[in-house]
Symmetry: C2
């Protein structure tokens, strides 16, 4: 930078101003000269020096459990949103695994911030409210939880509204004449799965409809496991006219089983899921499901985070985005064999 100042016969300051795109405080002629010179010298601003001087790393961290999440459609959608939310800005992504260094996750992540490796964090932990959130929040580190509502006091989160999806789906099927409705459960130890299950039972109760325990089975958010369980389930003499799966993966597993058994969906039994995975578009038959605005979640989370790190002002604590139904071909309205 000194070189180019010298070559142009101006001070480093002027050069700095021009290069920083400061719109004021520099004459046009000087600006042009400097710009030309910079190009000639093939000048590259040094991000390290800049970071150091401004006391900002320029990196925003994404913290998530690599195993399981990194390869999921959910992650890629969320990141697409994060990207969108940071479009046009000069921030960069850093990536951290909350599983490694598990012995001291809180310290690790907090350290990242204190050591100025990142200026803020997005925590993706849809599967549990990890304890590290508490520590980060307590230390006033800019961190936003994406994808899961959290019970932590003062923590900021942006998520989709799981319970609402299930309620909607229950109403949807009931409105279409279904009375006997089955449910495929997610893993017991996951908050979101419990929330979904509760919402189903509540909504059935609200409509005065009984829940037949035979029509409930576990799939653990897993396609092949659900398939295997459904293979048993479908042997029952009396089937429900519809089944709600707590997520798409399980709905897909149910379809796999139905195809193997030669049971027709939706003629014999309707199926709905939650998530709207890419695969739900092209399943056999295409799956009616709740589209979760995961991408939007990421976008909002990122905007909040940037706002927070740039202004220092902590945003509102919680946002829940609601889902919308995508009607495809796995639901039969007014089934003739409905009880």
């Amino acid at each position: 930078m000194g070189d180019i100042a010298e070559a142009c016969g101006v001070s480093k300051m002027t050069v700095s101003r021009v290069l920083r795109n400061a719109e004021y405080g520099v004459s046009e002629s000087a600006r042009e000269r400097v710009l030309a010179c910079a190009k000639r010298f093939n000048y590259r601003p040094n991000a390290l020096a800049k970071s150091f001087a401004k006391n900002r790393s320029g990196y925003l961290g994404i913290a998530l459990p690599f195993e399981g999440l990194l390869g999921s459609a959910y992650f890629s959608r969320l990141v697409a949103g994060l990207q969108e939310g940071m479009a046009g800005s000069d921030w960069q992504f850093a990536l951290f695994d909350t599983l490694s260094d598990s012995f001291n996750k809180g310290d690790k992540l907090a350290g990242l911030y204190h050591e100025q490796r990142v200026d803020g964090l997005i925590a993706i932990a849809p599967h549990s409210n990890e304890e590290y959130i508490e520590k980060l929040t307590a230390e006033d580190i800019p961190v936003i939880i994406a994808g899961e509502p959290t019970q932590h006091q003062n923590a900021i989160s942006v998520s989709t509204d799981d319970e609402d999806s299930i309620r909607f789906l229950s109403d949807y099927l009931i409105a279409r004449g279904h009375r006997e409705i089955g449910f495929v459960e997610g893993p017991e130890n996951l908050l979101s799965a419990r929330l979904r299950s509760d919402a189903f039972h509540q909504q059935m109760a609200k409509h005065g409809l009984p829940v037949n325990p035979n029509f409930i089975f576990r799939g653990d958010y897993n396609r092949s496991k659900t398939r295997d369980n459904a293979l048993q389930f479908l042997k029952m003499k009396a089937l429900p006219s519809a089944v709600i799966a707590a997520n798409d993966l399980m709905a897909l597993g149910f379809l796999d089983a139905a195809n193997i058994c030669g049971i027709s969906v939706p003629a014999t039994c309707s199926v709905v899921g939650v998530d709207d995975l890419d695969a739900a578009k092209s399943s056999y038959p295409p799956l009616t499901t709740m589209h979760q605005p995961v991408r939007k979640t990421g976008e909002i989370a990122m905007r909040c985070l940037i706002e927070w790190t740039e202004t220092g002002k902590k945003p509102e604590p919680l946002k829940k985005l609601s889902s919308t139904i995508v009607e495809r071909a796995s639901v039969q309205a007014y089934p003739t064999h409905a009880s």
Copy 2:
């Protein structure tokens, strides 16, 4: 750091030495005092300052097309390897999308390096030999291509050996009495897909076996597309006794179709794939496939990159890792109806 030097009655230098874990050049007593003091002060080294002084960002970039790859099992496996390769080191991951900023990918990535935002790059571009590789290589930027062999001169890559997998699979089926073998093709525009296809034809020719064009169809590395095409395919009166899918996703799609049609795998038709996705373990029936050492690929790539950035010595140009078969339940040996 000054504070703690003062408090201990030593110089900043001594403190620096202690904190850097320099094994020599400092007395035990001084070391202990400094360490204690640092703990008391809750001292945090500032990574920014360190980076600046050492002229290293501490970040290694992973460049990939977010869309399509970010949510894939392939990506997560590769990253697991990268992580392994960087275990114990002080490097961090940065993440860049080769699709955004597509207008000037080369410049963008090169810029990242020149601006010192990253000290090296892993390029994951299994689907094409992007032009930006050329630019990076020409500028002697430490970049390693993971997952795909490359034709670029001087570029360094670590990849799995696709052709070898297909050759092995062909031999494997032939050795088990199969004579009429079908093939599910990947997308035409992908190098790896063409390579796999060529390998199949070559190997059949080598054994003096004809390839029936009716037994070849396209799946484009896509599960549901393959399912739909296979649904047609399986209507043929004469089927091959085995089918090789150029990847697991397509093998899975083929299984979907077989299940829907009620065609028994492997009794009627055997199926094999390439990749060994998680889903291949639990498909119906479980899939016999080639396990690609994707994780290993990542690990080696990362080790090479670190070596390169730390020593400045460019590693050997190309490594190909070979695959091993995982025998499950989708192949029938010595089918009775083989021609």
